[in-house]
Symmetry: C2
Amino acid sequence: MDELHFVPRSEFTRLLTLDCPPVPKTEVFAALCRINTLYMIAFAGSGHIGTSFSSMDIVSWLYLNELNTHPPDEDGAGDVFFSSKGHDAPALYSVMIGLGLLPFEKLHELRRLNGLPGHPDVSTPLIETNTGSLGMGISKAKGMALANRMLGRNCRLYVMTGDGELQEGQLWESLGSAANRGLAEITVIVDHNKIQSDTWVKNVSDLGDLDSKFASFGWHVDRCDGHDLGALSEKLAGAKASKKPAIIIADTIKGRGVSSMESTSMKTDEEFYRFHSGAPDEETYARAAEELIERANQLLSGVDAGPLVVEPVARPRRTPPAEDAQRLVGAYEKALVEAGRQNNSLVALDADLILDCGLISFRDSFPDRFFECGIAEQDMVSQAGGMALKGLLPVVHSFACFLTPRANEQIYNNATEKTKIIYVGSLVGLVPGGPGHSHQSVRDISALAAVPDLTLLEPCCEREVGMAVDYATEEASSSIYLRLVSIPCAIPFDLPADYRLEEGRGVTLIEGADAVLFSYGPVMLAEAYKAAESLREGRGVALKVVNLPWLNCVDDDWLRAVLGECRSVFTVDNHYTAGGQGEMLAAAIAGLGLSGGVRVTRFGLDEIPACGTNEEVLRYHGLDSESLASRIAQTLGQGFGEIPNQEVTG
Amino acid sequence: MDELHFVPRSEFTRLLTLDCPPVPKTEVFAALCRINTLYMIAFAGSGHIGTSFSSMDIVSWLYLNELNTHPPDEDGAGDVFFSSKGHDAPALYSVMIGLGLLPFEKLHELRRLNGLPGHPDVSTPLIETNTGSLGMGISKAKGMALANRMLGRNCRLYVMTGDGELQEGQLWESLGSAANRGLAEITVIVDHNKIQSDTWVKNVSDLGDLDSKFASFGWHVDRCDGHDLGALSEKLAGAKASKKPAIIIADTIKGRGVSSMESTSMKTDEEFYRFHSGAPDEETYARAAEELIERANQLLSGVDAGPLVVEPVARPRRTPPAEDAQRLVGAYEKALVEAGRQNNSLVALDADLILDCGLISFRDSFPDRFFECGIAEQDMVSQAGGMALKGLLPVVHSFACFLTPRANEQIYNNATEKTKIIYVGSLVGLVPGGPGHSHQSVRDISALAAVPDLTLLEPCCEREVGMAVDYATEEASSSIYLRLVSIPCAIPFDLPADYRLEEGRGVTLIEGADAVLFSYGPVMLAEAYKAAESLREGRGVALKVVNLPWLNCVDDDWLRAVLGECRSVFTVDNHYTAGGQGEMLAAAIAGLGLSGGVRVTRFGLDEIPACGTNEEVLRYHGLDSESLASRIAQTLGQGFGEIPNQEVTG
C-alpha cells in the first residue's frame, strides 16, 4: 500500500464545533490526532510513536479543557504546558495542528529543515522550552513560575514527564525547592507507560514506590488511568485545589490506540518494545491506520457525528542506505565482544540504550559483566569510577549528547584518579539530523578535550572501529573516549592495508600538493574525500586528504611531515568549529613555527545544528561535499563563486 | 600566643594500647584527633573545621571498631570508608595519622605540595576515591561493591555524606539501583550537622523528611545521635544485619567539641556559621585548643589514664595579602548591585555560596530578586533557563568548578533557546592551590567554549570587573560566562584610562617588539607582566604584553594589528593548555595566514593541578613569573638554561 492518510483541518473544525461534553469530544479529538501522529512519523520516516500514543489523551485533555493558552496569549503570560521527555513531540504537534495553533501544512514537515523539529524547540510557535534531554522539565517550570510571580502573572504550569525519565537525578533535585517554595501552580503529569527506550522500566532500573517517593519530597501526589479522561479531569482539579505542587501519576499504555503497538500486547518472551522510535513499515502502518480510523469512527458515532474523512498522500520514496554502507555501531558490537573475550576485567555499562549502543551481543555473551544503569548517566559514570578503582576496566556507553555533558564533572573526577576507563559515545555529529539539537552531539570534543589523560578517538569506518577498540582496550594506558557515528555510511575511501593506529598520527588517503585537508569519522571524511575528488576532477586542484582519528592530540613530527612544503590547510569537523579537532590542529600548526606562513581554514558547525534530513542538514551548514568543494575553492582563490549556504537557508 | 599544639604519636600509642572498652577509648581517640585537626588547619592556614569536628566521632568509630582495613589490606580488598563530602579531610587525616596509617609528619603538611591535599585524593595512601565535588559518593561505592562481587571479595563499604550534599540530584539518582541490586554491603552515614557552607540547611533548601525520603527509595533507614558512639554502634550493627543497603542519619553538631564553634551556640540573630572553612584567628585557636585539651584530659581521666602531653610548634608566619591587593569578587558584589538597580528584570541565583560569590549585598538590596537554590547546580541552571524564557535576566552563580561541568548540559540546553543568561563562575584557575583539584577550575573554558552564543570573559582587575558586569548586563545581546578569580591579587599593571571592552579585542599593557605575550585575569596576567618586566630588565628582551579578557573569541583585525610584524607569540592560560584561550588564539593566528611564519608557544597547565600554597602550585606548574621568564627566554633562544619546574617537583 503506497498511500498514507491524514485527518484534514476540516474534520477538526467539524469536531471542535460539535456540541458534546468534554470527555467524549476530547476522546474523538485524541483519536484523530493519533491518526495524524502516525501519519507524521510515517511521512517523516522517523519519530517516537509509542510515547506519543501513550501521552495523546493527556495532551489532548490539557489543550482542550485546561490551558488558557488557547487561543494563545501574545505576551507569553498564559498557562504553560510542555513535555519534559520531549520525544512525544509528534503528539503535541498533532494536537496543536488540530487546534489551529500551528499551520496545518506543518503536518507534512516533521523532522524537515524549517519544519517541526524532532524534539520541541522554541523556534516553533507556542513551544515553551527546548526538551529532549531528560530531567530538566520541573526545574524549567520552577523558573517560569518564579518569573511569573515576579512579573505579577497568575497562570498554571503543566509539565509532562516520562517514567524512564524519573531515573535522572535532576528530576529529584528539582522537587525539594518546589515544595519548599509552595509552587502550587505547577502540576506534573507522569506519562507512566512502563516502558523506556528499549524495554520495561522495571527491568531497566525499577522505580519502586513512586507515590511514596514523590510524597516524601513534599508534593501532592495522585494517580489515575491516563486514558480515562474523566478520572484525569478529577485529579487535575485536585491538583489545582492543592496548596502544594502536584504530581499525577498517569498510568498509560505505550503505543495506546493501535493494538499491535500497545505494550500490553507484548508476549511474555518478548524483551524489546518495537515502537519506541523509528517509522512503522508499510504493512504495520496500513493496519495501524485502519485500526485508528475504525476507532475514530466508533467514537464519532458515539457523539452522533458522521464518519471520518481522511486524505491520502503518496508515501514518500526514500533511498535506502547503500548496500555496502558501513555500520560502525555494528562493528563496535562485534569488537567489544572480542575484547571481552580477551579481558575478563572488562565490563560494560549502559544507560538505557542497549540496542542503539550495540550492546546486546556483549550482554548475551557476558551477562555478569553487563550493567544496565538506566537513564542515569552521572551515576553510571561514577559507578565506572568505583569499578576502575577496584580493578575492572569499565566501558561506559550512552549517546554522546547525554554522556559527555551530563556526566562531565563525573568524567573529570574519574580522570583525576588516573584509572583507565573507556567512554563510548554514539549518535555523534550532525547527522542523523532528524532528532534535532538535543541529540546532535556536536560539542563533545570541546567538552572533553581538556580532561587530562583522556584521549579522544573517532574511527572512520568499520575497520578502524575494530582497531580503535583494540587500541582502547589493549594498548592505551589511560582513558579513551570513543566517538561513534550511528548512521549507516557509504565509505568512498580505503584505508591503506598497512595502516595502524598510533596516537596523534593519521593516514593520507589521497596525495596532493595544493592543500592539505584533515578530517575524521565516516561522515565528514567521506564528504571531504568527495570534495577533494570533485576539485581534482573538475578544477585540477590537488588536495591531500588525511584521516586523523585523534581528536585532541597530534604528533608534531608527523604533522610537520604531512604538511611538507604545503602552506594551505583545511580542517573539517563533525562538531562546532569552536573546540573541535580543527582548532587543536590549527593551534598545533601555529606551534610548529613553519616558515613561509601557513594558513589554516577550519570548517565545522558555526551555529546550533539544524533539524532536517541528513542531506538537508549537511547542506544547510555548508558541510556536504559540494559546499565544501566550493568553500575550499573559494578560499584557494579559484573563483568558484559564492558558497551555497545562503541560497539554501534563504 | 604564637604557638600551636599537636598530640604526638606517643600519646596515640599510649591510648591505643590501653585496656578499656571501645566506646570510651574511641571517645578519647576522637578528642585527641580534634586537637590535631585544629592544629593541621591552623598550621595550614585553611581547611574545614566545622564539618571535620561534626564527623570526627563517626570516623573514629569506624576506623577503630568497624573497618577491617586496619591494618590495611595490600590488595585493596578490604573494607572501604570514604567521605563523599570530602571537605572533612582533616578529620580523616588526623584519624589515619593517629592510627599510624599515614606517616606522622604529614600532620604538618596539610594543603602543601606533596603533602595532604585539601580534599581527598587517591595519591594519599588508603584514600579510596577522590571527593570534594559533591554527590558522587554512593555511585562510587556502588561501582566498588559490584567490582568486589565480581572479583569474589566480601567486604563492606561505608560512605559518609554531608547533609547539604543531599541537595545534589546525583545522590538521589544513585539510590534506586543500589536497592534494586540489593547492595546491602553499603552503609551510608549522613553527617547531619544541619549547616551547609554558610548557614542552616533548612534555610538554604530544606531537606524535608529525610527518613521517609530514603525509605521510599528502598533503603534501610535508621537514625541516631552521631556523637553517641554506643548508639552509633547499635545502628551500624542493624545496618549490617539488613538485607538492604542502609542509611544512618547521624544527628551531629557542626564544630562539635569547641563550644564557640558549635552550631548550637549560634545566636538567634546570627545568620552565618563562622567556622565552615578557613583557619581560626590566633585567639580563637588558643581558646579552642585549651578547651579540646581540657576535654581530652577529662576523658583520659575517665579511663584512668594520665593527662595529655602535647607538643608545641611555632605558628608559621604568613604574608598577608598586599594592602593594595585587589578583590575581584568584592568588586563584582558592588557592580552586581548597581546592575540590579539599572535593570528590574535582573535576578540572581546562588548554589549555597552566597558569601564566596559576593551576593550578600544583592540579596539585601533586592530580596525578592535573589534565589537561593542550594547545592543543586543543574536545577539552578535550568531554573534560570525558565526565568529567561519568561522575560527575566538571570545571573547564575557558583564556584566555576561545579557550575560549568555539573550543569554543562543544562547550560547548553539554555543556549539552544537563545535567551540571555549570565553565568558567573568564581574560584577560577589554579590558585588558591589549597583546596585541591576538585576546586581548581582549570577546565571551564574548554567545557564552555563551544556553547553557541555564549561569550567567555575574564576580567583582570577590579576596574575590568565593573566593565565586564556592565558589558554582560547592558551591552551583550547573548549569554555571558564571567570567570572570576577569588584570591586577593596584587596587580602590577594599569589598564589605560581610555580602555573599553570590545568583544574579541584586548589591550596592550607594555609595548615590545621581540614577542607578543597574551594573557588574561589577575593571576596569570600579573605573572606574565612580571615575567616580561624581568626579561626586559635582565636580558633586554622586549615583550609586548596584551590583556585579552575574551576567552573564546578574538577579532581578526585587532589580532593582526597587535601582532604587526612580530612572529613570536606566547600565551599564558590560567587553565589547561588544551582547550584554553591560548589554543583559540593560536588557531585564530593560524587562520590569518600571516607571511613569514608565526610561532605560537602556549603555556598553561599540562597535568592535573597540584595542591599546595599558591606560590608552590604556580611554581610547580612553571607558571610563576620566574618560570615563565625562563621558559620564554628558552623558547626565544636566549639561553637562560633549563626551566625550574623539574627542580621543584623532583
